[in-house]
């Protein structure tokens, strides 16, 4: 049934900005502090307190606007959205209604190798609310106001997505761009990235959108995917059984995998928006706009293309490195130190390094690895100072200690022996003791070679350079 329908999806993403202080006061903007410890008369909505707009918030929003190809309103304002809720101390949220900072942009996403352009309607700045706490030890509800006044940008998309896969790709793309801009830490588990989803369905081939429903409270990408699929199916089921869709706001419950009716549009809140009289016009000079434009780093999608072209990485590898700013920083920093094959760096990062991080569930910046150490490691292997298997052992020390690669090699006595005279003696002795293998090899049993080299390695306690040993064995084993 659902195959006969197109799903139409638009997203509203709320991203908490990682400014040092809150949007209208000097309180620290930090997550996870003891409840109600980063509050002041302003963010608590005390009588007489007035907001002072944090200019960095405006800069960050414009930065995101440029990254998403938006036009910028160099003169904008803020508005009050009036509603009562215990986590909203002033009983209004300062946001932007009529004139957002950024409008009319787009972002390109990729699903299954196919590119698609998603329109960005607008980006505006606003303040976050506090959090209600339902504590078992207390019969009522408590409020933590720490989050009040944490700066948010809301990124509103056009209804341009047609599947949950596209929605997920859009979310991922926005998330990567946010972290590339360095304006949000994008920690979904801390709620710094949240979204509302608008879903409608229409018969395939139709050009007329169906009635949409809005789903709130989505805080994970997988929740977005599941929520969209659930909602589309719900709407198709209604239509197929002859019903009509009523415009509603619904709440997604990730645990139950279902959504529930919050309110119908006819009962919609009237937020009585009007211009915030406590904050002057937001005016951004031409120079400021140019400065912000100049501060925008290379965007991830451009970076992937560059990695493929300049470093001959596969699309998959390039994407995997670029998707994390840490990884691509490490990658490029190693390249900048000296001559090294990019493919080798990529292999190390996506192989053993990522493996270690996943196993420990930590991030790159929580380890002691540096570009210098990774460069030295690769170099040590490439110049035969250590074997690649020793390299893997060293990596642990690289992550967990401050020692240099040279120090680790020395300390663990991993330096490879490549001295031809030394190794020749070893090979001659091994061949002497293993006459049978020599005969076997000369009779065509080539696998005897591996055994002999293994014995040589054992004799050198693993430090003999396997390549040199192999060469020597090949030369000396043959009976003319």
């Amino acid at each position: 049934m659902i195959e006969n329908y197109d799903i139409v999806i638009g997203l509203e993403i709320h991203a908490e900005l990682s400014t040092k202080t809150k949007i209208y006061c000097g309180c620290r903007n930090e997550f996870g502090l003891e409840v109600n410890t980063v509050c002041c008369p302003i963010c608590l909505g005390m009588p007489g307190a007035l907001p002072s707009l944090n200019k960095t918030v405006v800069d960050y929003a414009i930065k995101m606007g440029y990254a998403l190809n938006c036009s910028i309103n160099s003169v904008s304002k803020q508005d009050r959205k009036n509603y009562y809720y215990p986590d909203l101390p002033k009983a209004y949220q300062i946001t932007q209604d009529e004139v957002p900072l950024c409008y009319d942009g787009y972002v390109d996403i990729s699903v299954g190798g196919i590119q698609k352009r998603i329109g960005v309607t607008r980006i505006h700045i606003e303040e976050d609310a506090g959090k209600l706490i339902h504590d078992e030890s207390f019969s009522g509800t408590l409020v933590d106001f720490n989050r009040c006044g944490v700066p948010l940008i809301e990124i509103v998309s056009e209804p341009d997505m047609r599947s949950s896969k596209e929605a997920k790709s859009y979310l991922e793309t926005i998330k990567i761009i946010l972290s590339y801009m360095g304006i949000s830490d994008c920690k979904m588990q801390e709620g710094s990235l949240r979204c509302d989803v608008n879903v409608s369905v229409m018969k395939k081939g139709s050009t007329e959108y169906g009635t949409r429903c809005e789903m709130k409270n989505i805080s994970t990408f997988s929740g977005a995917v599941k929520g969209i699929e659930y909602e589309a199916r719900r709407q198709v089921d209604i239509l197929e059984s002859g019903g009509t869709i009523i415009q509603q706001t619904r709440r997604w419950d990730d645990d139950k995998g279902q959504n529930f009716l919050l309110r119908e549009k006819k009962n919609a809140d009237d937020y009585r928006y009007f211009r915030e009289p406590d904050i002057g016009k937001i005016v951004i000079t031409e120079k400021k706009l140019l400065d912000i434009k100049d501060s925008i780093p290379e965007l991830p999608n451009k970076k992937v293309l560059r990695y493929i072209k300049d470093f001959k990485l596969s699309e998959k590898d390039a994407t995997l490195i670029v998707e994390s700013l840490d990884r691509s920083f490490l990658f490029e920093s190693v390249l900048n130190i000296g001559d090294v094959n990019p493919k080798l760096i990529s292999n190390w990062i996506l192989g053993d390094i990522l493996g270690y991080l996943n196993e420990k569930s930590i991030l790159l910046d929580q380890t002691k690895i540096t570009p210098r150490k990774l460069f030295d490691l690769i170099n040590a292997i490439e110049s035969n100072i250590i074997s690649s298997s020793s390299g893997k052992i060293i990596l642990i020390d690289i992550f967990e200690t401050d020692k240099t690669v040279d120090e680790i090699i020395l300390e663990r006595s991993l330096k490879q022996n490549s001295d031809i005279d030394d190794l020749k003696n070893v090979v001659v002795n091994i061949l002497k003791v293993n006459e049978k293998s020599v005969i076997d090899y000369n009779n065509g049993k080539t696998n005897a070679l591996g055994f002999v080299i293994g014995q040589c390695m054992k004799e050198t306690k693993g430090k003999g350079n396997p390549a040199v040993l192999k060469e020597l064995v090949l030369k000396l084993i043959k009976k003319d």
């Binding site: 909505g45 009588p47 215990p86 009983a91 209004y92 409020v143 009289p277 406590d278 002057g280």
Partner: protein, 486 residues
Amino acid sequence: MDLFKKSGTELSCMLRSKECSAREIVSSIYTRIDSVEEKLGSYVSLTRDMADKKADIVDKKIAKGEIISPLAGIPVGVKDNILVKDVKNTCSSKMLENFVAPYNSTVVEKMLDQDCLIIGKLNMDEFAMGSSTETSYFKNTKNPHNLDCVPGGSSGGSAASVAGYETTVSLGSDTGGSVRQPASYCGIVGLKPTYSSVSRYGLVSFASSLDQIGPMGRTVKDVHLLYSTISGYDKKDRTTVDISNIPKEISELKNLSGIKVGIPSEYYLTDKNTDVIKSVENFIKFLEKSGAEIKTVSLPNTKYSIPVYYILSSAEASSNLARFDGVKYGYRASDYTNFQDMYKKTRTEGFGEEVKTRIMLGTYVLSSGYYDEYYNRAQSMKKMMKQDFDKVFEECDIIVTPTTTTTAFNLGEKINAHMDMYTSDISTASANITGIPAISIPCGRDLKGLPIGVQIMGKHFSEKLLFDVSNFYEKSIDGFDLEIKI
């Protein structure tokens, strides 16, 4: 020595010449309060400990020969919607009956830096909504010139305390005339400064785009002194502007030649034979005689000032007062079933009738479907009114009108006559809507002996000219007639 009767400038000289101490000033003021407060009811709370401590600091500085600021040791009363840290800030409402201010407003901070003596918090109309101080949850304040009359409002306590010698100067707040109208009713001087020249940080917002804190006193120089102290850019109120380059000192004028005075015909529509009109006309004659050029001008959109004022101020108030919901501070209903119910009961029980009326009016004019018809239209009218004034100020330096069309009315006389009460703002509200400065000074009495005030309005940031002209008049008549019977 009746120190309480002295002006701020006199006290400042006496302190410097050691004719009196700050401690003596404090005790003189509180003695006066002890004797008349029961009749006047100006104060909601007194802050004697604070004043005593500050007085000791001033006296020590004087003893050590340190230079003291012009306002050091001068008693000041503060309207109860301007926060003084650790002192109750009630806004004369049940809602904030027990609310203790957690921080100092910027103006109070500035006054304390100058070693002012804060005497107490002054009664007002609830949340500054009213024109008679009768909407105060706590009590009525009486007019020191006639105890049966209202002192005006909403800064009724601020005016009565100054006129009744319970303080030397005071702070009020003016959203539609709330400093000037009570100043006029009580026969003192009151200034509504240019919007954005005095920080509103710590003033409990009524209508953010119209509110200004204003100084009140018995002499122009006292009001000027207080204005100089509290005005200026404040990073905590981003609507303030830097006015440090604008001259503020009063110039002692020899005459008024070169000053062009506009008389807007629209403000004199009422019965021409009232005592008020006669006094204001005498004042205009005085200006003319002193060399000023008098011109009749027109401010045609003045007739909209009352609807525009009530729509804009109520709209903003409905949002500004939404925070009083019982969640964080202030009154909370004792019996409720859920938080919606708590909001409803808290606000029903915590606010008085006038406040609730305005919240409902404001909510209505901002509601979808009515927004364009009311709020947006009022915004466009505001622009037109500004254009009216800009045009007049192209040919005039100041505009002179009566501050109020009548003198103080009797307590209870208008409390149920909403339209009468509302239209008493007719002469004053335009200055708030257009943001210009306006001062009210006494210019005579009616036959009942009640004071009459004249209002002088000027261009944005032209406070100095308003002070110069007012001071010239005050000197010419050998000081204002401040006599009261209590």
